[in-house]
Amino acid sequence: MLRSSQPLTGPNRKRCREDEMLLGTVLDEGERGFIIDTRSAQAAKQARMMGGGTEPKSAYLQWKRLHRPLERGRLLQESFIKLVEACNDTSINMDRWLSRLESCRWLSHVKAALSTACLAAQCMDREEASVLVHGAEGTDTTLLVTALAQVILDPSCRTLMGFQGLLEREWVEAGHPFHLRCARSAYSHARLKQEAPLFLLFLDCVWQLSRQFPFSLEFSERLLLTLFDNAYASAYGTFLCNNEKERRVRGQGRAQPSWCLCKVKENTHSLWAWLNQPGEKKKYLNPLYSHNALVIWPSVEPQSIQLWQGLFFRWIRSSQYLDEAWAEIQRLAGGS
């Protein structure tokens, strides 16, 4: 599985020898590959006017392009804000709750993300074909798809360590702009242009997987909530800045915000180091975990996708009874 950003085909349908060769080296003679473009066909076409575009069929003969539009940016943030508002709204009665939930569209985004990740996984596992995933920038929906596909496909990504490695690789090092995307969250009126909850969407999808495959993830919901918290505000440097470059570059010049921490590795502590301490670690483990060597294929039917109550109602209603149940599960299965 490969990821990139959009090719800069532009309105004049430029070609790039090197790019074609690079993709060519991935496939053997006679092999086929799939390009999953996370923009709609129309959006991808329009991107050409701004210098971007799609891989022209004639130049990438062995690759078949599939469009799976995934929401991102302002619209995704709006969806998130609406959902949080709906959850907080004590005046809605049962008559209107589901349509209100629907109007937020958040669950539709979860369904779409899972479906696309499953598609990528299917290409690889069932069709034994290579896959290239990209959207526009390659920093948002692209990473959502590649990271999720790996959780689906690869049992090692479902271990606690493996999952951390996945996050480090597919989100942090891959350059998801955390600083821009996880700025103010849903309550803020600021409505920053660059803010969007892609990472939360990813965590939600992982939560859906944990619900459908309760034995297959080594970590529990608590880890996902902790990651969500730390993406927005953290005592650790792991999610700081927008990319590796920013995490290394000295603060002077380069139009970096002056308060953007530099030399993150020297000046901050790692979230992973803290999480992995034996005392901490056990809080994040799933007592039902048992290594599942197989691919886990989730159902993306609407009935199978649920609202992540542990996150969206976290502060709104007591989880006492569910916590007690979880404690009981740990007592029974936790291998006292």
């Binding site: 049962m94 008559d95 669950l107 598609l119 034994e128 993306v300 609407p302 009981e328 006292s336």
Partner: protein
């Protein structure tokens, strides 16, 4: 009929080809297959509707919809055969006489004494005693001993001490269907009670002294409170409309010291339509999230569930927190009243959250008090307007509560699903007819078997591993959060999509934990035995040997194999509308489905109803449970590459 195809509604994988059989009691589809003859059995009683669809090139499609929400899509090659099957099924699904029902021919190979014992398992007299009646305030009345006062009530009812036979009879004449106020639940902690009845025949201004005395008697039976709640579970408009027909509701001016309350729950016709709409949503092919949520909201189903629950909560609060007695009624006092009284009882009394207690609750508030099982669930062919999912709604309320309070119930979801299944299956005699009177006339207990005995025998399958009788959740009253709690009501896909395997987790946490618990217990017992032996050894050997005591080793390795992961699941169709390269050669069959054949082994821990030697109800059920200690395991999948065809890319 041969060469019939059974389609899988969710996935367009190849349909199974086989032979269709019609017997006196079942429809059976047997798949042609080399080693595995997968069978799908459906009881005629379960058939809700049969639909013949337009003939296509491939054959004549027939859609069978069941009361337990199974949907079977068949394609019969010849139109003539299809028509025959259709006509037969219509007739078979609409029996005219009780004797046609399966319970009269079902033979679980028990002797007469065992059959009797089975019926005695649930004893309502014992239950009322457990509650604390008869006592100074309540007595048993036999005024209805020959069903002379009310033919839909049981022969024995509990009434306040001060309610004489004269008052009872007088009150019964003033109540719809003569269903006079009688005790449903008594709270011995504070003497508050829940009583139930039907609507008074008050019209606009009619009064009845005896009925007013009856309510007074109920109030007086609770010295701790100076008033009585009267809860009418109908929407106010409906109740008012009933007044024009000479019925209606209690006027606070006429009845001393009552506080009247409407808690609007819609009627059986609204509920029937609501379910219908929800099932239509379930039948959508590849619905979007929008389609689903809109459809679900449009059906109003969850709203109705919440209404019933809210009514139960109100009553439970009145009894537990205010110490006030409540009289509940709707129109005829056998639908909404039953729902609401049983929900309230469940909230109030932890006994009803045990397996035995739940059976008792249904026996008390539904069976003995004359809920019209035959009319509502169509044992016999009858008026379609009487059909309504009343008890289904109650059962769902219980499930919703189980989701909110996972440690509070001794039984699990499967218990509820099987009860619902058997209410419609008519395999056992508990839920036949419309009243105790009718059942006695038909001598049900001598001619059929009790479901409760059957479930009790298999109770190990129905236990909730998280239940502990000493847990805080299981003590006292359950207090569900009232508002804001819209989001707490979930769509019960385990019931309404019961037979759609792809929708459910392949791994059952319940079954795994139950197995862990059992194995723990076994090991504990072994440990005890060893300890005793050790103690004896030590005694007998005196000072001769130094015996190291064994470590209290609650080791993690309980010897449970994790074969719960060994079932590969298959990808559903993640995208339908793509053209692509032709996919790899499709497999000739589903390896993973072969694991779901109903063999003797894998049945014992999943659905005990479907024992292969006696009577299979329906096939391919929730076999998501495993016996983790390795016994009776389904054949494991060794590799991740099961040879399913790649379905995601349409050719």
């Amino acid at each position: 009929v041969e060469n019939v195809r059974l389609l899988d509604r969710l996935s367009s994988r190849k349909a199974a080809l086989g032979t269709l059989y019609l017997t006196a009691t079942h429809v059976i589809f047997v798949e042609n297959g080399s080693e595995t003859r997968k069978e799908t059995w459906v009881l005629h009683s379960q058939i809700s509707s049969v639909e013949k669809q337009a003939t296509t090139a491939t054959g004549c499609p027939l859609l069978i919809r069941c009361k337990n929400f199974q949907v079977i899509q068949l394609v019969i090659p010849q139109e003539r055969d299809c028509h025959d099957v259709y006509i037969s099924l219509i007739r078979l699904a609409r029996p005219v006489k009780y004797e046609e029902l399966y319970c009269f021919s079902f033979n679980p190979k028990l002797d007469k004494e065992e059959r009797e014992q089975g019926w005695k398992l649930v004893n309502l007299n014992e239950e009322y005693n457990r509650m604390g009646v008869p006592n100074n305030y309540w007595q048993i009345s036999d005024v209805n001993r020959d069903y002379g006062v009310c033919d839909s009530y049981p022969t024995e009812v509990y009434v306040p001490k001060s309610a004489t036979a004269h008052i009872i009879v007088g009150s019964s004449k003033f109540r719809s269907r003569r269903r006079f106020p009688a005790l449903s639940y008594y709270c011995k902690d504070n003497n508050a009670s829940i009583c139930r009845s039907s609507q008074p025949l008050s019209g606009f201004s009619a009064r009845c002294l005896e009925d007013e005395q009856m309510l007074q008697a109920i109030r007086k039976a609770n010295p701790g409170s100076d008033f009585l709640y009267v809860v009418d579970t109908r929407p106010k408009l409906n109740a008012m409309a009933n007044r024009a027909a000479g019925k209606g509701y209690e006027n606070e001016d006429n009845y001393s010291n009552i506080k009247f309350q409407f808690i609007g729950i819609e009627n059986i016709h609204v509920m029937r339509n609501s379910l219908q709409k929800m099932l239509e949503v379930c039948e959508l092919k590849s619905p979007s999230m929008s389609d689903f949520l809109w459809g679900l909201e449009n059906s109003g189903w969850l709203k109705h569930i919440k209404a019933i629950m809210d009514a139960g909560i109100f009553i439970a609060k009145a009894v537990a927190e205010e110490g006030v007695s409540v009289l509940v009624h709707c129109s005829d006092g056998w639908d909404r009243t039953a729902q609401v009284c049983s929900v309230a009882s469940l909230l109030l009394d932890p006994y009803y959250r045990t397996m035995k207690g739940f059976m008792v609750l249904i026996e008390k508030d539904w069976v003995s008090f004359g809920h019209k099982f035959n009319h509502r669930y169509g044992n016999l062919d009858g008026d379609p307007k009487e059909i309504s999912p009343v008890i289904d709604q109650f059962i769902e309320c219980v499930w919703q509560l189980m989701e909110q309070f996972p440690c509070a119930f001794e039984f699990n979801e499967r218990f509820l699903i099987h009860i619902q299944h058997h209410i419609y299956s008519c395999q056992f005699g508990n839920f036949l007819c419309n009243s105790q009177k009718e059942r006695r006339e038909l001598k049900i207990q001598e001619r059929t078997y009790s479901l409760w005995a059957h479930l009790w025998k298999h109770r190990a399958d129905y236990l909730n591993p998280l239940y502990r009788s000493d847990h805080s959740q299981t003590q006292g009253t359950l207090r569900p959060q009232m508002a804001p709690c819209n989001f707490l009501y979930k769509f019960w896909s385990g019931m309404y999509n019961r037979f759609e395997k792809g929708l459910h987790p392949r791994q059952s946490v319940t079954d795994y934990l139950m197995a862990v618990k059992e194995e723990s217990q076994q090991l504990e017992e072994e440990l005890e035995v060893l300890r005793e032996r050790l103690a004896n050894l030590q005694k007998s050997q005196l000072n001769d040997n130094k015996v190291k005591s064994k470590q209290d080793d609650r080791s993690k390795h309980l010897g449970l194999s994790t074969s719960n992961n060994s079932l590969a699941n298959t990808p559903q169709e993640y995208s339908n509308d793509l053209k692509s390269f032709p996919s790899r050669s499709p497999s000739q069959g589903d390896e993973e489905d072969s694991a779901l054949i109903l063999t003797q082994d894998n049945l014992k821990s999943s659905d005990p109803d479907l024992s292969a030697n006696s009577d299979q109800e329906s096939g391919v059920e929730d076999l998501s449970c495993r016996s983790p200690s390795g016994g009776g395991c389904l054949p494991s999948e060794d590799s991740g590459k099961d040879s399913d065809e790649a379905v995601f890319l349409a050719a």
